[in-house]
């Protein structure tokens, strides 16, 4: 956070910003006052993939798990939760998103392009075992 930013952001906590406090230093937007964020991944049943659902602020992984449970698993069916520090995530750059441009055109990579249903049907009709040669 640059010095210039500190002039405009009194605090990331809206309650402090709203209260128009004068005096003292309320511009500390780094570490001790504002916790790091953790990315939260939610699994709805055992064996299912964990899906990213959002973030929580927390001082450590134990507390991040406590909060992830209440923010992201207090209504839905849940088997398991992961949290990981946001700083551990590596991401592509949006300015390089042209690397993805032609991907939607490559229909031959879509499983729907493989014409196999007639062969599967024939396999079933013949009542063959998987080891039999088709």
């Amino acid at each position: 956070m640059s010095t210039e930013d500190n002039k405009t952001i009194i605090s990331l906590d809206p309650r402090i910003s709203r209260s128009n406090l004068t005096g003292g230093n309320h511009s500390d937007v780094d570490g001790l006052i504002h916790f790091q964020t953790y990315e939260v991944f939610h699994q709805s049943k055992r064996g299912a993939q964990h899906k990213h659902v959002g973030i929580v602020h927390a001082p450590n992984p134990d507390m991040a798990l406590l909060y992830a449970k209440e923010q992201y698993a207090r209504r839905e069916v849940t088997a398991n939760i992961w949290v990981a520090p946001s700083s551990c995530i590596s991401a592509t750059e949006y300015e390089d998103d042209d690397v993805f441009t032609t991907a939607p055109e490559k229909l031959y990579r879509n499983p729907a392009s493989y014409k196999v249903m007639d062969r599967i049907q024939a396999f079933k009709e013949r009542g063959m075992k998987a080891s039999d040669e088709v």
Binding site: D13, F35, V56, H57, A58, P59, N60, D62, M63, L66, Y67, K69, E70, Q71, R74
Partner: protein, 252 residues
């Protein structure tokens, strides 16, 4: 005392403890130290009130008035909660310390009740054990965090522990009805509960760099279970029953 009266006494003290601490902890709603904690603490306060409703329903099945009537129409002397739960929320240090001391006892109480010979109570205990387990995970994590935070946070937690300790011991006030409950395998009894609780909280407090008050200073604050309460309970009840008093049929 017959076993039904004994059972009712047990249910009243469990439900009243949950209702009152639920209301107290809900007072932090909107004021929690950070957004995520505000949500978590309020959510647990709701859990506690929901648990009490289920216990009041058991009482209703035994012939007592319905849950709303029981929760909202009694005065302080008719409540069976321990004095620990009615104390004001104080600072976050005290609220977390009380949450820790209380929910550790809840954990052990409900763990035992899961195998209670009174089946309806055993079912409620099984249903809510997971909620209570989370409440202890939350309390233990905060206890550890503040115990190890810095000199100020450790000092505040120690002061809160010193203040809350004798009230916490008061949770295990012996009841006149316990023997019949123990004999019929409905409840293990307050003395056994306290012993297990002590074995649970002592190492957790020590691991959080906190010192359990010396046994010479122990003086359990009893009376709550027989309707003797602090000056703080009646004003709490007045606030809690405000809507009900205006319109008992209000739905919200």
């Amino acid at each position: 005392m017959d076993s039904i009266s004994a059972l009712k006494e047990l249910l009243y003290k469990i439900a009243d403890d949950q209702l009152i601490i639920g209301h107290r902890n809900s007072e932090w709603n909107g004021l929690g130290p950070m957004l995520e904690e505000d949500i978590a603490f309020s959510s647990m306060a709701q859990d506690k009130m929901g648990q009490s409703e289920h216990i009041y329903n058991l009482l209703h099945q035994l012939g007592e008035a319905d849950a709303d009537t029981v929760a909202f129409t009694r005065n302080a002397p008719q409540f069976h909660c321990s004095q620990l739960v009615e104390l004001p929320i104080g600072g976050y240090d005290f609220s977390i310390m009380r949450h820790f001391l209380f929910d550790s006892a809840e954990y052990i109480r409900f763990e035992g009740l899961k195998t209670s010979a009174y089946q309806p109570l055993a079912q409620v205990a099984k249903k809510f054990f997971g909620e209570i387990k989370y409440h202890t995970m939350h309390a233990n994590t905060w206890l550890h965090q503040l115990g190890h935070g810095n000199e100020e946070s450790n000092g505040k937690m120690q002061e809160s522990l010193n203040y809350a300790w004798n009230y916490a011991l008061g949770m295990f006030e012996p009841g006149p009805a316990e023997e019949v409950l123990i004999k019929e395998n409905i409840f293990i009894g307050e003395a056994a509960l306290r012993e297990k609780w002590m074995a649970m909280v002592t190492p957790l407090l020590e691991k959080s760099n906190l010192v359990v008050p010396s046994p010479a200073s122990w003086a359990p604050v009893y009376g709550g279970r027989i309707g003797e309460h602090t000056e703080y309970l009646q004003p709490l009840l007045k606030e809690m029953t405000e809507v009900y008093t205006i319109d008992p049929s209000a739905d919200w």
